[in-house]
Symmetry: C2
């Protein structure tokens, strides 16, 4: 797993404006100017956000004549989902081990109690 790529993806996603830009682009391509308006951002501010999203590979830019058309690339999200899935797997494995341990302790306690009951009073 490429850790630096995952860093970039997660950092890009950690800003609400950048997430909103991705949400917009998930619904269809847009020009930089299309994005600046609804978010009440300067062209400069929206460009900075887009550059960060491009760096993380979440947004692609296609130059058509004088226009820059932006589209979403969901592929880097795979690595985020994989990382989360791995954590859940580790965590579940640990819970199962804990369960097994507690069950073993319970059984040991029952055996001890039975052993005592069998003895003379």
């Amino acid at each position: 797993m490429n850790s630096a790529a995952l860093d970039d993806t997660l950092l890009s996603l950690s800003d609400p404006t950048r997430r909103a830009i991705l949400e917009r682009l998930s619904q269809g391509e847009a020009r930089v100017t299309d994005l600046a308006e609804p978010f009440a951002l300067s062209l400069n501010a929206v460009s900075k956000h887009i550059r960060m999203l491009e760096r993380a590979g979440l947004v692609r830019r296609e130059v058509r004549g004088r226009e820059h058309i932006l589209s979403v690339n969901p592929q880097p999200l795979d690595q985020v989902e994989e990382w989360i899935a791995t954590q859940r797997a580790l965590w579940k494995h640990r819970l199962r081990s804990l369960d097994a341990l507690l069950l073993e302790e319970d059984r040991a306690r029952v055996r001890t109690r039975k052993g005592k009951n069998r003895g003379p009073r």
Copy 2:
């Protein structure tokens, strides 16, 4: 969806040391000192990372006597997965709409061609 909570979660996850701490805690509880050693970090540096993870709700701290026991709380990861799932749904919906549009265009082209073929030569 709580956007500020999602910001905190994603920002917390965007650092490789913090992800490594979570990976370690997913395998079982640990004390702050247990975490500092394998990561070759000062207690101060590891404490800062842990505070950020606690703020995002990804790590819980339990005080047992003089020891602070840390454990993982995977619940904030749900919101990350939900956000990604929403993006994928939007994106797939858009691709299906594009497919339908292209199919409609193809059909229109075939109809036009048939119309032309039917005409006199």
